[in-house]
Amino acid sequence: MSDIIAPTKPAAVEAAPVATVALMDQLPSADIRAESPLYHADLATVAKQGPKTGGVTLQEHKLLGHLVIRGNQDNAGFLAGARAVLGFDLPTQPLTAAEDGALSVRWIAPDEWLVIMPGKEAFELENRLRAAMSGHVAIVNVSGGQTVLELSGPDARAVLKKSTPYDVHDRNFPVGKVVTTVFAKSQAVIRRTGEQNWELVIRRSFADYLWLWLQDACAEFGLVVKD
């Protein structure tokens, strides 16, 4: 046993203020055109010209604000700050989510959460979180790096079964659950938002690949693209 070294976890730093960081509003002006990761796929035209009925409906919720919040659950100043700004507690239970209207928070790891809100509110919310939280905390705006897809319809679960090794049966994946897992050999944060609704948060660099994958995987059920 003498060769087993198990270092103890350092205590959370509570008193220290959040370090000064350079902040940048990623949406400085309304007249600058923003392009979602699937801009080139022109989903609006596909939606207009494509089939209107089918087993799976795909919709991109584009240009939302994505913030990654990291902090220690033992740090009371961190949790209280989040509650004060978000209006609800960070979901500290693994694989859970919390939401209030357009604002939603996903548990990613014991010290990491993904907050999604309307794109124009991201900078303001980031500043408010930064002001309200204390201790060893990180907040990063990753809005440009990922996008949200919603799969719905009676065959949406069948598409998931083709794409992920995760068990998507009701007994293992109830409404409200969030898992970060393998999706089509890539990675996605999958949240079940309804009986037949699934939300995928995917990386920008994989967006085109996953769009092609989903078209192929949905072909047998009939893919309806919604704008």
Binding site: I5, P94, L95, E112, Y166
Partner: protein, 95 residues
């Protein structure tokens, strides 16, 4: 395929989501500038390859991206125990 319990996510996941990161409980020399080449070499390169119980470091790479330790039997491939970094294993080889 392993079916691995992630102690951070609190449930079993497919092996595909994980990466093995080698032997667990490696102690970096506290004063690397003043350790001998032999000590540094031991730390960098020399690894155990036991027949039987082995403590390994794993990462839940496509999940919560957290590291944890696993005690595995290299003969039967049976996973004896999964525990967080900083905890001590309860299943250890008889010395």
């Amino acid at each position: 395929m392993f079916y691995i319990y992630c102690p951070h996510c609190g449930e079993h996941r497919e092996e595909e989501e994980f990466h093995a990161k080698g032997q667990a409980h490696l102690a970096r020399p506290l004063d690397p500038d003043n350790c001998t080449d032999h000590e540094w070499g031991e730390y960098l390169y020399m690894r155990k390859n036991p027949r039987g119980l082995h403590h390994e470091l794993w990462i839940h790479a496509t999940g919560c991206r957290k590291f944890f330790n696993m005690t595995r039997d290299t003969v039967s491939y049976e996973i004896k125990e999964v525990y967080k970094v900083g905890e001590r294993p309860t299943v250890v080889a008889a010395s």
